[in-house]
């Protein structure tokens, strides 16, 4: 640990929770939009943000009708900020939903595997959406044509013939990452590329090579 780390820690503690949550949410939002895979559901941050959004909405509702120009102006500022927060959350949720809709079965498997860990991949409501949507789709398929197929071909997650029907996102897609801490040597699987990632560096790498560090917060996607 050197002086930079110490300074960084002091800086983090002195910024208020709200600002850090906003940073966190923005980071999650950016990461979710560029990462090929769905990322962990940031439950605690989301709970805090949503709680604050709810309080601000109440405040706005309370204060409207107050004709004092000063509060009126304050309200406009609050509402503008609220709209921005709502946009962030909305866009974040929609980005996740889009991924859930594109690779439902794959994500469901991943989610079930992550259930044992303290932080599951999906939020409860996302999981519910995924399962009901999948149920809808498969009943639609079978009503439309699958029921007329031979029984051996009716499954949607068939893996016979060495090809799995379950579609996966492209984990080798290139992403831009910025290192927040020294990571050390990174090795890209399947190639003989090795390189050193230092704090502040920006790299274009395969997602599969840096996934772990993004998860642990050593790197951020940009």
């Amino acid at each position: 640990m050197d002086i930079d780390d110490l300074l960084a820690e002091v800086a983090i503690d002195s910024t208020p929770r709200e600002t850090r949550d906003l940073q966190e949410l923005t980071r999650c939002w950016v990461a979710e939009r560029v990462a090929p895979e769905i990322l962990q559901w940031p439950g605690e941050t989301m709970d805090r943000v949503l709680e604050r959004v709810r309080r601000q909405i109440e405040l706005v509702e309370d204060q409207t009708g107050n004709m004092d120009p000063k509060t009126n102006f304050k309200l406009i500022v609050i509402q503008t900020e609220l709209e921005r927060f709502k946009f962030l959350v909305r866009s974040f949720l929609r980005a996740r939903l889009k991924k859930i809709d594109t690779h439902p079965l794959h994500i469901l498997n991943q989610h079930n595997a992550s259930l044992a860990s303290p932080r599951p991949l999906l939020s409860p409501s996302e999981h519910q959406y995924l399962t009901s949507h999948q149920a809808l789709l498969s009943s639609h398929y079978s009503a439309s044509f699958l029921s007329q197929f031979p029984a051996s071909l009716q499954r949607l997650d068939d893996t016979t013939g060495g090809i799995s029907m379950v579609d996966k996102p492209d984990e080798d897609r290139a992403v831009f990452v910025r290192c927040l801490r020294d990571v050390g040597e990174v090795w890209v699987e399947g190639t003989d590329r090795r390189f050193e990632m230092k704090r502040g560096d920006v790299w274009v790498v395969r997602w599969s090579a840096v996934r772990g560090w993004v998860g642990s917060g050593d790197c951020e996607l940009i």
Partner: protein
């Protein structure tokens, strides 16, 4: 030839992706592809019958090859059908998200078609969705409404453009009646212009009642 109709279906799906509306459901083709798969399955059964479960592929390479082709064709047909239906359901979901009432629109279209050209035969006033798809849309809208209900503060179907201003200029394209805002009620009459809060009128813009002025 094997898989030819399946191919046509996929081409259809590809075309559908770039269309604004949903072309009619190809009931005939879907049926034909499913029938082909069933026939192939029967073929496989007849080929295998004389062997009574003790078929050795390396002893009979010709039969094995025929079987393989049949199997592959069945799988391919299934894929084609899945792809075709998936493209259509994706399209329908997109409409649900953007707040278009698909079923109502379908009805209007079929009514119009029915009034205009009655001589075009019984097909002209049928909906472009299959009955299964209509059911799917209904259930998906319910699902979406349930999911959205958990995020009432956020308004999930709202605009995905980052907000710049709290208030925007809008022009009224169609009479939309009176709306309640926190600054009082506004009566939206055609061709009038207002400076209103974006959150209040977002739905009306999406439904085509208002036009946003930049």
């Amino acid at each position: 030839m094997y898989g030819e109709i399946g191919n046509k279906l996929v081409q259809h799906a590809k075309r559908t992706q770039s269309l604004a509306h949903l072309p009619p459901y190809q009931t005939e083709m879907v049926r034909a592809v499913a029938r082909e798969a069933r026939d192939l399955d029967k073929d496989v059964a007849t080929i295998l019958e004389p062997f009574a479960g003790s078929f050795n592929p390396s002893a009979e390479p010709a039969t094995a090859c025929a079987l393989l082709v049949n199997h592959l064709c069945m799988r391919r047909n299934k894929r084609c059908l899945l792809a075709y239906h998936r493209v259509r359901t994706d399209k329908l979901e997109e409409m649900c998200w953007s707040g278009i009432d698909v079923l109502e629109r379908q009805q209007q279209q079929s009514n119009k078609a029915g009034e205009g050209v009655a001589s075009m035969g019984p097909d002209s006033n049928s909906s472009s969705l299959s009955p299964e798809e209509e059911e799917y849309v209904r259930q998906y809208s319910d699902l979406l409404a349930a999911y959205k209900g958990q995020w009432t503060d956020i308004d999930l179907t709202g605009s995905l453009e980052p907000p710049k201003d709290l208030f925007i200029d809008v022009r009224v394209l169609k009479d939309a009646g009176e709306i309640q805002t926190e600054y009082g009620a506004i009566t939206l009459t055609k061709n009038s212009q207002f400076y209103v809060r974006q959150g209040d009128v977002e739905r009306l813009i999406a439904q085509g009642y208002l036009q946003r002025l930049s």
